[in-house]
Amino acid sequence: MASYSTNEFKKGLKVQIDGVPYQMVEMNFRKPGKGTALYECKLKNLIRGTVTDRTYRAGQSLEAADVSEFTAQYLYRQGESFVFMDNSDYEQYELSGEQVGEGAGFLKEGMDCQLVVYNNNPIAVTLPNHVVLQVEYCEPTAKGNTATNVSKPVKLETGAEIGAPAFINIGDWLRVDTRTQEYIERTKEPE
């Protein structure tokens, strides 16, 4: 297995520790006085998304992780799992609800996502930052209420429930930020 020694450490490197893949999201070289060089790293767990701080003394090494990322289309849901297809070779990959995480409620058939694959197994998926989805259900708008700051729950066609302004109606198209799961604006039906 390939490995990276400290002098190859840099932002973006994909490594594995105890069988878990991480991406180096920050790396700071420090060398106090006449002491050992230290490599202060922020490592993002590619499965959980959490970030851990680790410091390495010069001369240490980390195993390289066979991690790749590519564009894949969301096909359909099958029971508890979600099926994606690599747009380049039409290979299909199945992810569990846990792996898809909170993005599941925003996944629409045909949506292009970024799939992260570790040792040939899919481990995570990143949705586009902004998606446009139709409102499946919400309470009707109270007459005369044009205030935009009043929020009400609306259910989207893909299943997620988000807060939206009071003037939103069933059938409206909304632009949503999948990272914060927040309403951005009302928009027209995508072509």
Partner: protein
């Protein structure tokens, strides 16, 4: 490059500072057959191939070796502004190739060495007089223990008490590794806030090329000093060790430690040891990172901001 005029001006003022004090500017080889073996500095090795012969030479990690040979040959007060090379050192405050200012003056004690460095900062950075703190005082003040008597186990406990993450691969039995870690994480960021801070009288085990003396409490200390300004280490100086036999012993220890760490051992610099056997006069010397000096002069946050060409 954001500060080309400031770099040129600072170089002129630096030369003026030394010229006014009777120092002679010298030049020494960048590429040489020998290098000073240091525990945590990796020199670049350069291979010269010609016909069937291959020969290794070293890019100098500092001009120290040759400048000391000049002192042995009779130089009194010398300075140099040159390039130095250190493998794998790359970060906001480090570059593999950087500009170093190094000077030596015969007859100087550690005290005189610290005073000259302080004068340099006052002149070039317009700072207030430097605040001097011994290594022991700094640890007492910021961490409330004596660094000269603490055991490795106690040092580990202090690090844990301050929630300092232990680097992967650290030798937990080595006191100096713990001291360096505590210094870097808890003390260095506090040094040189209103005025430059000079840390001096290091543990004897961290003497490197400094003389070892006894402090007023009877503790063996290294006559080594470092200057910090805004938490950035700017210079390292010694009341220089002049005893060739002791220096040879220290180089051997460095190599033993390097081998234990799985790193290449380095050949003893015979030319320096021979020169010292013939006599290195009592002197103090200091090395200063010029790129960092410029950073501090213009308020930059990384060396990349003050050089013409970035290196990755």
């Amino acid at each position: 490059m954001k500060h080309p005029e400031q770099r040129a001006l600072l170089l002129r003022r630096l030369r003026q500072f030394f010229d006014e004090r009777g120092f002679l500017e010298v030049e020494t080889p960048l590429l040489a057959d020998e290098v000073i073996p240091e525990l945590h500095i990796e020199p670049f090795s350069v291979v010269e191939s010609r016909d069937s012969t291959r020969r290794n030479r070293w890019l100098q990690a500092s001009p120290e070796l040759h400048m000391k040979r000049l002192l042995s040959a009779g130089a009194k007060a010398i300075y140099q502004i040159t390039r130095s090379f250190r493998a794998s050192e790359q970060g906001p405050l480090h570059r593999r190739e950087f500009t170093i200012v190094e000077w030596y003056r015969t007859g100087d004690s550690m005290d005189a060495g610290m005073q000259l460095l302080d004068d340099l900062c006052q002149t070039l950075l317009e700072t207030k007089p430097a605040k001097r703190t011994s290594y022991a005082e700094a640890f007492q003040k910021h961490l409330e223990f004596c660094p000269h008597t603490a055991t490795a186990k106690q040092l580990a406990e202090h690090a844990a008490a301050h929630a300092i993450a232990v680097p992967e691969g650290m030798d937990a039995e080595n006191c100096d590794e713990w001291l360096n870690l505590l210094l870097a994480m808890k003390i260095e960021p506090q040094l040189g806030r209103d005025a430059p801070g000079i840390l001096h009288s290091y543990p004897a085990s961290q003497a490197v090329l400094a003389k070892i003396a006894t402090d007023k409490n009877g503790t063996n200390i290294a006559e080594r000093f470092e200057l910090y300004w805004h938490g950035i280490e700017l210079a390292n100086g010694y009341h220089e060790l002049t005893d060739a036999a002791e220096l040879r012993q220290r180089f051997i220890q460095v190599n033993q430690q390097r081998q234990q760490d799985g790193r290449q051992s380095l050949p003893l610099p015979k030319s320096l040891l021979t020169a010292m056997e013939q006599g290195l006069p009592n002197c103090a010397g200091c090395a200063l990172g010029f790129d960092r000096l410029l950073m501090l002069a213009v308020g930059a946050k990384s060396i990349d901001e003050v050089v013409a060409f970035r290196s990755d």
